[in-house]
């Protein structure tokens, strides 16, 4: 399988705490993306980091990329109950045509 893996599979934290999710992928990439999925809904794009970038920020999101380890992490700072969702990483291969998704991390943020 080409699928990447995410760690942890599930994460439960309190509001205000930070949440960190890790992702590993298998092939050479052009970019890596993170998506969010609320229960019963489609995926929504959060942030994209290119293969020549090491860190990127967007609001409360911080993404890192280590191409030597084929890994990425997503940090959500000062989490809110509304951040409760599943988060997926997706790697874009160097052929630019397909995204390969990870298995996802289920995040639960309690008030």
């Amino acid at each position: 399988s080409q699928q990447g893996e995410e760690d942890p599979q599930a994460l439960s934290i309190q509001e205000g705490e930070n949440a960190t999710m890790n992702c590993s992928y298998k092939t050479s990439i052009n970019n890596l993306q993170w998506y969010r999925q609320n229960s019963g809904r489609g995926l929504v794009h959060l942030i994209l980091i290119r293969s020549n970038e090491r860190e990127k920020h967007s609001g409360r999101l911080r993404v890192t990329l280590d191409t030597s380890k084929k890994s990425s992490s997503l940090l959500i700072t000062a989490s809110r109950a509304a951040d409760t969702a599943s988060y997926f990483c997706a790697s874009m291969n160097t052929g630019f045509q397909k995204l390969v998704f990870g298995t996802g991390t289920r995040l639960l943020v309690s008030p």
């Binding site: 399988s1 080409q2 699928q3 599979q9 052009n30 970019n31 993306q33 998506y35 019963g40 809904r41 489609g42 995926l43 929504v44 794009h45 994209l48 290119r50 997926f88 997706a90 874009m92 630019f96 045509q97 397909k98 995204l99 390969v100 998704f101 990870g102 298995t103 996802g104």
Partner: protein, 120 residues
């Protein structure tokens, strides 16, 4: 601007029946994709299209066929449904990829709300 829409939202089939899932996008995107999502497995690519009249196989294409007769529509067909095809199906689209690397924002995929299919 509706984005990506999928029809139907829910469907129950008996083994051996056929059906077609319709995906439509109004963003003039070149690329369209069909995924299936199963518990604990994330999304897996079934088929995709890089333009009107073109289709290509993804990771799990067996048992499915697709057509892209119009740029805005991408159809997924199940000719003889099997219980193993019980899943949630998502369609997605993305802009045309341009030659310059500086346009990686075109790689963002926009997803539909999903179709929940049960095959008995």
């Amino acid at each position: 601007n509706a984005g990506v829409t999928q029809t139907p939202k829910f469907r129950v089939l008996k083994t051996g029946q056929s059906m077609t899932l319709l995906c439509a996008q109004d963003m003039n995107h070149e690329y369209m994709y069909w995924y299936r999502q199963d518990p604990g497995m994330g999304l897996r690519l079934i088929h995709y299209s890089v333009g009107e009249g073109t289709t290509a196989k993804g990771e799990v294409p067996d048992g499915y066929n697709v057509s892209r007769l119009k740029k805005q529509n991408f159809l997924l067909g199940l000719e003889s449904a099997a219980p193993s095809q019980t899943s949630v199906y998502f369609c997605a689209s993305s802009k045309h990829r341009v030659a310059t690397l500086g346009s990686s924002s075109t790689d963002t995929q926009y997803f539909g709300p999903g179709t929940r299919l049960t095959v008995l």
